[in-house]
């Protein structure tokens, strides 16, 4: 693994081998980091939602990322909060990582979409401790903790 700092919420790494938790299938993908690496490093993974250039049917739980704002994306893309995965860090592409990070206004939009997904979608983040950790870490990142 290349020398790098620890990943934090909003980072966008690229995976040569992004393995989907539900199907076990894998593909090359960008991922949006949903928990800091300190939370998941002993699991050997990063909690991400997949970023895809394929336009999803339902847009309520996705964040639109324009390639003009994120120059490392060759096409306009979508961070899909209804597709969360604990992705093995072994699948990270060699080289500089992360490729970029969400801009602050997008981080705020992302948290609103993510929160919505936490009650709409039944997935690995439905587990109360994982859900609570996601909420705590995003609020901390956005300075929303009292």
């Amino acid at each position: 693994m290349p020398a790098r700092g620890e990943f934090s919420i909003g980072d966008i790494p690229f995976f040569d081998d992004y393995q989907f938790t539900d199907t076990g299938k894998s593909a090359k993908h960008f991922g949006l980091v949903l928990l800091p690496e300190t939370s998941t490093k002993y699991e050997g993974s990063l909690l991400c939602c997949v970023i895809t250039s394929k336009k999803p049917k339902r847009l309520k739980l996705v964040l639109y990322l324009q390639s003009s704002s994120y120059d490392f994306l060759s096409k306009d893309s979508y961070a899909c909060f209804d597709r969360k995965d604990l992705v093995s860090m072994r699948g990270l592409e060699n080289g500089k990582q992360p490729k970029g990070s969400l801009k602050k206004p997008d981080l705020q939009k992302a948290y609103r979409k993510l929160k919505k997904s936490l009650y709409v979608i039944k997935d690995l983040a439905s587990e109360p401790y994982l859900r609570g950790t996601i909420i705590y870490q995003w609020k901390k990142k956005l300075g929303l903790l009292k």
Binding site: T38, Y119, L124, E127, G132
Partner: protein, 175 residues
Amino acid sequence: MKKLEELILFILDRAKKKGIEDLSLFQLFKISYLIQVLSFKYAGKSFLEDVVFIRHKNGPISISIYDAIEHLENEGYIKVKKSKKEDYEYERHGHELVKKIPKLSFKKGERIFLDSFLSELLPLSQRKLKEYAYSTEPMKEITQQERKGVKKGAVLNFTSVTVDPDVVDAYAGKG
């Protein structure tokens, strides 16, 4: 193994991985207490079902933690080293993990929750841990009742912990 014993082993294991050789009894009391508070706040439920924390002069302690440490010492998992500083009247009891921990029964979500908060709690000084413990609702509730000195031995009330509003929204389906 009881959940509290597993928690102590988990805390000591993560401390060791961060290069912290041992933890004092004070640190184990406060970190376990804060994990319990944070569990109510962010998961909406108790992490340590059968563990009672009581008010002591330096904040929350639990008799169950003494028992758990004794059991873990007898099982050969931890060693307690005693040391004393000239400028402090009490001995420091350093708890060190000396045997590989067994496979623990925590679920993935619980492990991530613990790692998330332990990465913040383990680097804190004893003074900061004490401040953090005193800033929590159960400790605030008890200190507000203490007009005539510390209510030593009073049971801390975790029902006073408010669940984070965004967690409530997630359960209520508000988003």
